[in-house]
């Protein structure tokens, strides 16, 4: 059966790595299920112990899925295999995630769920999709930033509302316009690409916000817990103080009740007259009691231990005593003043059993408050202790002169059944942490209050330090952010500059160095591109230059050729026409003129033939069809042959060895070379100046032929090009020929495997050296001329 060819999927290395990693984890879990089922049950199935019955199946499923995941991670497999495996793995992972969720193992549940999503993503997020994801992420980022901006704008508008409500229009307008500007900013400013400075600023701002935000949250959390601890400690202390005061009050209450009861039961109080009673009372003393007094059964005063005016027993107290017929207590005033006082009163009975009167111990509340205050001062400095009656009315305040005396706690609910408790309250702008204790025996409550500001002073101090640290951290993170941003942005900036420069055809701008792989990649690519561009441009420029040069050389050659060829033709034709004209006129032609004209015609046509030969030679050389027909001959003979034909041979001095100098060469071609060298030597020398021809043998073995003149020499700027086509070293002073002689000479010598080079001796003139391979004279030599 034919199957469709496997369509390879394009997954990133990260996706493959994830598949392999998750696969390994699956295999390990599966192995655990098979080998150590208990651990597996605890780790994965926890509350569903009964699922453990299928343990081998779980194990096998896990191992199989793991194996498949590893396989798709490692191998090039088709889309279907990847999808199937990933879906199986994801379903299993979601299942386990759900199991862990029901076991309330939140972290595990999230981990498994995320892994499931990652496995799906790895399967369905190939390289191309990864790029799409980048796009989506960008859109998402924009949406988030839009929402954030709108929220910020609305918040600013919200901040302005209170100002508007209190008709502070300037402030309101400021807030409103700021808010509107923030919301509408992108609409007001045309969208522009992010400048690199903007990127820097954003990165720095983000670093600072993240660092500061984290620090602020941490500081707040730490401060909140420190505050809670401090307040808790303070409340515990207050509770202790309140309880102590309550105990003292209870003790004091029973003590004073006992005191007055004892006084009332003193035998015969009823029988004593006013003076006797007074004497008795004056004999008594007790702490905090400023006076003792007695009253009759109607509450009218009988006697006092001090000199204060006699005042009847307050009606409220009398009423209570009549009802209870036992010792009691009540609030009154110090007689003759408005100062509050506390009266402990006990009835005394007559012999008949009826109430005959009352005996009272009077306590100054102010004094009592001082006593309570003394108790409170054992606790924290600054503690205020209040005693409230059943209605919540303050009875005692420990330090009436202190400013805290005015700051009474709010009334406690009298029905509050709890005996102790704590509360925080605010009076006159100051907040207090307070503890209260009810004193059931007295129907009173004791409240011990401590200013919250004192409690939080330590925490506040810590907060100030934290704020300092926050500023420092923000500054440091801004610096760090700038540094990091610069590390990313600066190379991009430099790279951008280099690109701008390249656009302006500057190719030497230094490129940034960065240790960021992506920037390195960009820089590397750009550098390679720039190099290629430069190379290509140079190449093109060179090609263009050489093409232009070729055209220039061709044009110049055309011009030279026209001149050089037409000149001998003009002369030949002119002389021929001159003779013809004379013949037509029937004149007798002067023999001297006839001879002269014919000689001119002859020499000009020879010159023309030489020029045409040169052109033909160049054409042959260019087409590679200049044939060398070598033969073995003596170079001395060549020199002789050349000199024989020259009219200027008297100027030429030849030095040659006695023995033959044999070469395998084309005699005619070498004759051409030597003639050309001698022509040049003569042409560029002063008249009658000597030209030397030297022939010798050198190591190699090489036959060396040199032609040395004492003429103009070759100017340095021409030396490099002297053997090139159409090159004329003295075109300005000696116009003749195509500039092809040395070119042809060199080509011929090189075709003989020889070399030709040129020297400019310091004494002036020119030395041309031709080296040709030498053949031993011992070789059988047959002289042939090709």
């Amino acid at each position: 059966m034919l199957r469709a060819p496997v369509e390879p999927t394009d997954r990133t290395a990260v996706a493959r790595g994830l598949q392999i990693a998750v696969g390994v984890a699956f295999v390990i879990s599966g192995a655990e299920a098979l080998v150590a089922p208990t651990r597996f049950v605890q780790g994965v199935l926890a509350p569903y112990g009964r699922l453990a019955a299928g343990m081998p199946l779980w194990g096998i499923a896990f191992v199989a899925i793991g194996g498949c995941l590893i396989a798709i991670g490692v191998l090039h497999v088709g889309r279907r295999a990847v999808t199937a495996t990933s879906v199986c793995a994801a379903v299993m992972l979601f299942l386990v995630s759900a199991l862990r969720l029901t076991a309330l193992a939140w972290a595990d549940a999230v981990l498994y769920g995320c892994t499931a999503l990652a496995v799906v993503a790895a399967a369905f997020l190939p390289g191309s999709l990864a790029r799409t994801w980048l796009h989506v992420r960008r859109q998402l980022g924009q949406t988030i930033s839009t929402i954030a901006r709108v929220l910020m704008g609305l918040a600013l508008i919200g901040l302005g509302t209170p100002a508007a409500v209190r008709h502070d229009w300037a402030t309101a307008a400021l807030y409103f316009s700021l808010g509107a500007a923030v919301v509408l900013a992108p609409g007001l400013v045309p969208a522009q690409p992010l400048s690199l400075w903007s990127v820097r600023v954003r990165l720095v701002a983000m670093t600072v916000i993240l660092t500061s935000g984290a620090l602020i949250l941490a500081t707040l959390a730490i401060a909140a817990s420190a505050e809670a601890t401090a307040i808790g400690d303070a409340l515990a202390d207050q509770q202790l103080t309140a309880s102590e005061v309550a105990y003292s009050l209870t003790d004091g209450d029973s003590e004073y009740r006992g005191l007055v009861t004892t006084l009332a039961m003193r035998g015969g109080l009823a029988q004593l007259d006013r003076a006797q009673q007074r004497a008795l009372l004056q004999g008594l003393t007790a702490t905090n009691v400023y006076a003792f007094s007695t009253y009759d059964s109607t509450g009218a005063p009988v006697a006092r231990s001090d000199e204060r005016p006699l005042e009847p027993l307050p009606a409220q107290i009398l009423l209570e005593l009549q009802q209870s017929r036992a010792a009691g207590r009540g609030l009154a005033t110090v007689p003759g003043t408005n100062q509050p006082a506390l009266f402990f009163v006990a009835p005394y009975v007559a012999s008949g059993g009826d109430v005959a009167g009352y005996a009272a111990a009077e306590l100054d509340l102010e004094q009592l408050s001082h006593a309570v205050g003394a108790l409170a001062s054992v606790g924290r400095h600054g503690t205020s202790v209040f005693v409230l009656d059943a209605n919540g009315t303050p009875i005692l305040h420990p330090s009436p002169t202190s400013p805290d005396a005015a700051t009474r706690p709010p009334a406690l609910e009298p029905t509050d059944s709890t005996q102790t408790g704590s509360l925080r309250y605010r009076v006159n702008g100051a907040e207090y942490a307070a503890a209260y204790t009810q004193v059931p025996a007295l129907d009173w409550s004791v409240v011990s209050a401590y200013p919250l500001a004192y409690v939080l002073a330590g925490v506040q101090n810590g907060r100030e330090w934290a704020f300092g640290a926050l500023i420092l951290a923000a500054a440091l993170s801004a610096g760090l952010g700038l540094f990091l941003a610069d590390r990313v942005v600066a190379p991009l900036d430099l790279l951008g500059n280099a690109m701008d420069d390249l656009a302006a055809e500057a190719t030497a701008t230094p490129l940034p160095r960065s240790d960021l792989a992506e920037v390195q990649r960009l820089t590397g690519l750009f550098a390679a591109m720039r190099e290629r561009l430069v190379a290509r441009t140079t190449e093109r420029q060179n090609a263009l230059d050489s093409a232009r040069e070729a055209i220039r050389v061709r044009d110049e050659f055309m011009s030279i050729a026209a001149h050089e060829l037409k000149t001998p033709i003009t002369a030949t034709r002119g002389h021929a026409q001159l003779l013809l004209a004379h013949l037509r006129d029937g004149d007798r032609i002067d023999p001297a003129r006839l001879r002269s004209s014919l000689e001119r015609i002859n020499s000009q046509s020879q010159k023309l033939a030489r020029l045409i030969d040169q052109l033909l030679d160049v054409a042959r050389l260019e087409h590679g069809i200049l044939i060398i027909r070598p033969a073995r001959f003596d170079l001395r003979e060549l020199i002789d042959e050349v000199l024989v034909d020259r009219t200027d041979r008297d100027r030429i001095v030849v030095r040659a060895p006695h023995a033959p100098v044999i070469v395998d060469a084309d005699f005619g071609r070498l004759e051409q070379v030597l003639s050309n060298l001698l022509d040049n030597a003569v042409k560029f020398s002063p008249e009658h100046a000597g030209v030397e021809v030297d022939l010798c043998l050198t190591a190699g073995p090489t036959a060396r032929l040199t032609v040395r003149d004492h003429g103009l020499g070759i100017p340095p700027e021409h030396r490099a090009h002297i053997f090139e086509r159409f090159h004329q070293a003295h075109a300005d002073t000696h116009r003749s020929g195509f500039g092809l002689g040395l070119y042809i000479a060199r080509q011929i010598v090189e075709l003989h495997n020889g070399t030709i080079d040129l020297e400019s001796p310091t004494s002036g003139g020119t030395l041309v050296r031709v080296d040709l391979p030498h053949v031993h004279a011992g070789d059988s030599s047959v002289r042939q001329i090709g």
């Binding site: 001998p568 033709i569 003009t570 026409q577 001119r600």
Partner: protein, 128 residues
């Protein structure tokens, strides 16, 4: 035809580096009755002119030492010298060459001796 020269011996200066051409042009013009001065380049020509000013100048353009352009410029720079110039050139754009040096006429190489004679005669006639 060669004898149809004007009797008052007008002076013609020929400036040409190639002696093959120079010699036949000289012969033709002398046969026609002109007085001919020969110069192998611009420098020599200027030296001749200093001594005797010609009525017409036959000028080759490409010459060593001093070419036709330089010579013409030097010659024109001296306002007294206004003899017509006839350019002899092998260039294919002979008229352009003539225009470059403000020549009166032009002879394209190779030229016939009849052309030479009629041109010189015409130029001298126009000058008169």
């Amino acid at each position: 035809m060669l004898r149809s020269a004007s009797p008052n011996r007008e002076r013609v200066l020929i400036v040409e580096d190639d002696d093959g051409i120079r010699s036949f042009v000289t012969a033709v013009l002398e046969d026609a009755g002109y007085e001919v001065m020969e110069a192998a380049n611009g420098v020599e020509a200027l030296q001749h002119i200093e001594q005797q000013s010609p009525e017409a100048i036959l000028l080759d353009m490409k010459m060593p030492v001093m070419d036709g352009w330089t010579f013409a410029a030097r010659y024109r720079a001296n306002s007294e010298q206004r003899a017509p110039i006839i350019v002899m050139t092998a260039a294919h754009d002979a008229r352009a060459r003539a225009h470059e040096v403000d020549a009166t006429d032009v002879l394209g190489k190779p030229f016939d001796i009849t052309d030479l004679l009629t041109t010189v005669a015409r130029v001298l006639r126009e000058r008169r």
